[in-house]
């Protein structure tokens, strides 16, 4: 047995075959009720589709092998890295990209140009989908400040998105406030509420913070559903004007294109601001808070201020995104701001890579666009979506594009010096 060193035999042992066989049997048993038995209600007979059972068996037999090979390869790689003890030897493509700022800048500009051309090349439907995706990019980047950098698990983030949307809808309904004025106001109101919520919950951390923020999320939604005098309850607010320029009458198409550019501009601004914050005194204290709160305090960081800043700066973006959302859909009601949305945004941050801007952006794009473009597979799309999430978490536990820390160069020294050289 051990002589077999070539081909498949190198990877697959008798034990594996046995295990896969058992797995296949288990899956055949599990899927038996839905894949095999089919009740024909017209003739009142039961169809036994035994062939499906074999298909499930064969597929799971093959897939368990593939799965095991992939896990083995992953673990092999980790073991190899541990053996050498040097994790920096092989630079990732991102670290290599960091060493060439010119290339990085060009790449970003090309991305931006493509994004700017998007509504011209494609139709209104595609543009509309992309607006939603970019709204989530802003949301995810905002939440990334609290969760990714600050390490505070907040589950009610969508509240602040709702506050932005309701700010625009209500101020427009009562006072005829236009979209452009509502943009900063929505952000501001979300920020104020963020600070107000933050003050009582700041003493909590971890799971407790998550539960309390979750509760706040539900409170917001229930209040909006029941306080008819303020929010018009579940029937919501309709006929919210789309964004327009200089009081001109815009067609739906023009307005959609305009909304697209507004949200694109906000994505760029958000990236710019978050990027700069990340690499500042405040950003470092956020990461220190995530890593070790007590040590951070011992290093002179005022955790209270740091947390408040994280909440304030994070909720602002949600408010702005909310205003744009209201302007895009022209109708809002509490159903748009459920807990599920909060979880989805959190998924984007975790899946993409906590604290990593490119990671969070791609996380948001994948989670919003994948189900959209999988519509062709109709009933399978949520299954595929779920499978992708599981695969990413198994094979890339730090997210698709994990965060890397800023490196600093120093003249003349940088590692050439021998160890123990005094």
């Amino acid at each position: 047995m051990s002589d077999i060193k070539t081909g498949i035999g190198r990877y697959i042992t008798k034990k594996d075959v046995k295990r896969s066989g058992l797995m296949a049997l288990w899956f055949m048993f599990l899927t038996f009720p839905i894949m095999v038995v089919k009740v024909n209600t017209v003739t009142d007979t039961v169809e036994w589709r035994w062939i499906n059972m074999f298909i499930v068996g064969i597929f799971s037999f093959i897939l368990t092998h593939v799965w095991k090979l992939m896990i083995d390869r992953r673990e092999g790689r980790i073991a190899a890295a541990d053996n050498t003890g040097e994790t920096t030897e092989k630079l990732s493509w991102r670290e290599r990209l960091d060493e060439k700022p010119a290339l990085k800048r060009t790449a970003s500009l090309i991305f931006l140009a493509l994004a700017a051309l998007f509504p011209i090349v494609t139709g209104m439907y595609q543009t509309s989908i992309m607006i939603t995706a970019l709204l989530y990019v802003v949301l995810a980047l905002g939440l990334n400040i609290i969760v990714g950098l600050g390490g505070l698990l907040v589950l009610g983030y969508i509240v602040f998105y709702g506050v932005g949307a309701y700010t625009y809808a209500l101020l427009n309904y009562h006072f005829g406030l236009n979209f452009w004025l509502a943009l900063p106001l929505g952000g501001l109101f979300a920020m104020i509420l963020g600070i107000l919520i933050a003050i009582p919950v700041l003493r909590l951390r971890g799971d407790y913070l998550a539960i309390v923020t979750l509760a706040f999320g539900e409170i917001f939604r229930i209040v909006m559903e029941n306080w008819n005098g303020l929010s018009f309850g579940p029937s919501g607010i309709a006929n919210i004007p789309r964004p327009a320029l200089f009081g001109l009458d815009f067609s739906i198409q023009q307005s959609t294109t305009l909304t697209y550019y507004v949200i694109l501009a906000f994505v760029v601004i958000t990236i710019f601001v978050v990027r700069r914050l990340e690499d500042s005194r405040l950003g470092r204290s956020w990461v220190a808070m995530r890593e070790d709160e007590i040590a951070g305090e011992a290093m002179g960081i005022d955790m209270w201020k740091t947390k408040l800043a994280a909440f304030a700066l994070s909720t602002f973006w949600a408010g702005v995104a909310g205003v744009i959302f209201a302007g895009k859909t022209t109708f809002i009601n509490p159903a748009s701001f459920t807990m599920w949305e909060s979880i989805l945004v959190l998924c984007m941050v975790v899946l993409g890579g906590m604290g990593s801007i490119p990671g969070v952006i791609s996380g948001a794009l994948i989670i919003t666009l994948l189900p959209e473009y999988l519509r062709a597979f109709s009933e399978l799309r949520m299954l595929i979506f779920g499978a992708v999430l599981v695969l990413v978490m198994v094979f890339k536990p730090d997210g698709m594009i994990p965060a890397i820390r800023q490196k600093y160069e120093f003249k003349g020294i940088s590692g050439n010096k021998k160890k123990g050289d005094k």
């Binding site: 500042s280 470092r284 007590i294």
Partner: protein, 263 residues
């Protein structure tokens, strides 16, 4: 001259347990003082009371920074305020910012000596940029002092154990303290590393003028390093004096080795 740290009748109760029982302690500028005692004697609790992690039940903690000579009562202050006043500490179980680079760890230590705010961070005005540059330079200098500059861009968690211990000291030094509190700096070190640590601590005191209070179990290190020793057991101060006296003190021997039973 007033002692830079003067602790009077410090008491800390956890429910019915008195972890620190009316301990008096003072440190003069430029001294190296050790606080020793068997496991569970209340040494770390004492540190926590001084650095603001826990609020003492009773007693006074007075500091008198050598720069201002103004005495101030610091019990009940938040840890970050105490650090700003000039007391820095390390932890018994290493508490580095694991996923940050070595340099960033030290830069965090510079935090209380920086001014940049949110607006400065976003618009990056000249003042913020100069400050940032200065901090990078300063932090690098501190790393050099502790022979850590080869690890500059390495993540803290990837460092060898001894280097992690040194990084904790570097990080604490970055806050520009006048008093450095080291909680078991030699724990888990081999004899070679301990000798190097001994030299490092003396160097910090001599060249930086930082006074040092340390908790340590390694007796050879304590005896060679410290000028005065305080011994606590069950939260109570049982002896104090120069190393030679402490070595011979029957109370201390009893606390460490147990009492002889007459049979």
């Amino acid at each position: 001259m007033a002692p830079i740290l003067d602790v009077k009748k410090l008491r800390m109760d956890f429910g019915g347990l008195r972890a620190v029982n009316d301990v008096d302690l003072y440190i003069n500028q430029g001294e190296i003082v050790a606080l020793i005692g068997p496991n569970g004697a209340g040494k770390t609790t004492f540190f926590n009371c001084i650095t603001g992690v826990t609020r003492p039940t009773a007693g006074d903690v007075l500091i008198c920074p050598p720069s201002s000579h103004k005495s101030e009562r610091i019990n009940g202050m938040k840890p970050n305020v105490i650090t700003e006043r000039g007391l820095a500490r390390t932890f018994q179980n290493i508490r580095l910012f694991q996923n940050m680079t070595v340099l960033e760890n030290v830069m965090i230590g510079r935090h209380p000596r920086m001014k940049a705010g949110v607006i400065g961070a976003i618009i990056r005005d000249p003042r913020t940029r100069t400050e940032e540059k200065q901090v990078i330079e300063d932090s690098h200098e501190i790393l050099k002092k502790l022979n850590l500059e080869i690890f500059v861009n390495e993540l803290a968690k990837n460092l060898p154990y001894g280097a992690q211990r040194r990084l904790e000291i570097a990080r604490a030094m970055a806050t520009e303290p006048f008093l450095l509190l080291l909680d078991e700096p030699a724990a888990g070190m081999n004899p070679q590393e301990t000798r190097e640590l001994d030299e490092t601590i003396v160097r910090i005191r001599d060249t930086e003028g930082i006074t040092i209070l340390l908790i340590e179990h390694d007796m050879s290190l304590v005896m060679s390093l410290s000028e005065r020793i305080y011994v606590v057991d069950y939260g109570k101060l049982i002896a104090t004096g120069i190393p030679e006296d402490i070595k011979k003190n029957p109370e201390v021997i009893k606390a460490y080795l147990g009492e002889e039973i007459d049979a």
